[in-house]
Symmetry: C2
Subunit: 397 residues, 2 copies
Amino acid sequence: MGPGPINAHPRVLRAMSADLLGQFDPEMTGYMNQVMALYRPIFGTRNQWTMLVDGTARAGIEAALVSMVAPGDVVLVVNFGRFGLLLTEILTRIGAVIETVDAPWGEVVPLDRVAEAIARCHPKIVATIHGDTSTTMAQPLDGFGELCRQAGALSYVDATATIGGMELAADRWGVDVVTGGLQKCLGGPSGSAPITISDKAAEHIGRRRHVEQGIRRDDIADGQGPRIRSNYFDLAMVMDYWSDKRLNHHTEATSMLYAARECARIALGEGLEARYARHAAAGRAMAAGLRAMGLTVFGDDAYRMTNVTGVFIPKGVDGEAVRKAMREQFEIEIGTAFGPLQGRIWRIGAMGYNAMKHKVLLTLAALEACLRMEGFALPLGDAVPAALEAWCQDEQA
Amino acid sequence: MGPGPINAHPRVLRAMSADLLGQFDPEMTGYMNQVMALYRPIFGTRNQWTMLVDGTARAGIEAALVSMVAPGDVVLVVNFGRFGLLLTEILTRIGAVIETVDAPWGEVVPLDRVAEAIARCHPKIVATIHGDTSTTMAQPLDGFGELCRQAGALSYVDATATIGGMELAADRWGVDVVTGGLQKCLGGPSGSAPITISDKAAEHIGRRRHVEQGIRRDDIADGQGPRIRSNYFDLAMVMDYWSDKRLNHHTEATSMLYAARECARIALGEGLEARYARHAAAGRAMAAGLRAMGLTVFGDDAYRMTNVTGVFIPKGVDGEAVRKAMREQFEIEIGTAFGPLQGRIWRIGAMGYNAMKHKVLLTLAALEACLRMEGFALPLGDAVPAALEAWCQDEQA
């Protein structure tokens, strides 16, 4: 019950034990096409270029940025936590000119401040995070892409921590590139990064295409733009690989593709609306239970992610001792925190296969017991009923 | 029976269906330490820094090069096939000054020509491929590292196509950094890249360390060298993550780590000597069988890889029709080729779980039948006995 990685869905684990296929076997390329189709609704898009980057979620972020951004490009980062800082970190290495518009950890950046920042710095690309697990905040994105488009900028959003758990709406947001990962709300292992790319962004990236020697073909021309600084993360080549051209690039990570495919099949089988409602119920129940224990939930309820809840470590309690007791006595992991929140909050996830009523209730019961054993005085027995009531809130409404 | 990816060992497939663990769970970090220990003998090294890069084999190559090479550094590439070209491709994007010493596809580069090239261009790094599947040739590497060291250069070898199938001897070769992949002779899926780094290279890379904002710690100082151009492939950060510091970087790809661990356990359980002998027997048998059919094996026997065999497509035979018949009638994949060898040779693998007597014999029997059905006149029934005899050659000796 940490902020991810979390327990995978058993069907995903079983999917990875299927035997491998040749890279260009028609069965394999058929699965690749299925993955493209399966991830479109999950990203809320009709983008043709919806596929996988072979690496962890962070690989998806770097692939997006290094392919979109050329050295010297002005990039505006909408920054409200550790993963906003990660965007600036990656962009520094790419050689971008970085501007930021920031919110303190625990808040989000209002759209009018984004608009002001765009007007101030005329970025070529605007980049942000949907849900930043470091602060448990989710940046509202309706209208975000439109703001960027009006200013002639491409937009990028990393949705690793929300994909499959909170609604992604790449098309409605008007966002050009969105990336994710399997190891949070999709209930899979880390190691594959779903990505979607608008036609406009694909065209932009295609202008930087450079086919490597040894596999050049007369029918695929190089672009005239500055060469992408990475071969592995060159999304122009990755798109050629996922297209009917099937131009060889890396060797697709077959077992991870099976995992990504099964994650999406499970999500669509459940129904995205039902899945988002389940995560919302879990988040609501977790917060209600924690509050019933007398603890203080971190951050503004209006912008909190549904799938991870920050809670202040009460005064006088050794946060690490409680985490250790949770793990050793109950086999339940809860998360520590980064940066300014380190030692101040725990982060408790309820995502993917773990966003289930019984897991939320068991976690609260265990935490109550651990807090009591650590000598913290708290009302006993109130957390579980409060969580159960909050879980059922929508059903009763 | 292509040049990889190939069928995975069933134990590796089962290992991936184990449930996930938290990133810093002691059980997880214990597995990470085991992986470090397990891969040292496989690389033939005592290097402390022996670990995984989370991506396909190509990710391991890029991580090695982008971490070792700063823009403007002179790098000598010992190039004898498509993967040598890939090194130059990646280095171009890194901004290296590239020099090459080349052999035609099907040959290797003699060490004295490497020595001449080093003397000519004074490289900071010398990079090559151990076995280049595009040409089926294996570059001899005894003495290679020593040549580089004498000239004050670091050395790098990609051994993706040979790791677990032909002897790797990083320490005896004196090579600083060696990378691999699971999807060839280790009998696993693509998606995890084992790497080993000498202390000297680790120190060189450490001078470029830059810890990202949000997770900085007082006890970990940045280096003074030029910042590594990639965050994901920053081996200084990856080493900090795999060290006792456990400094957060990407989220380790847990299922792929299980796969990598199981690949190594299987290889060491079989015994590396026995494993290399098995691959050699398979390669010997495949070549003997192909020759008994009247076909011509590609390349010099003295330098051929043991685990993949190139064979000329006979005149008048439609190579793709034969490949299709092999796949559709026999469910056996054999490989096409790249660059100057495209349409001229097939590449037939026998690696990892597929380097087995019965698989070699079945492949030869099927190929004979397909060639006959394509109207090619060949001696019938000779390939299998010839292969069997060659397989047993060492046992009889």
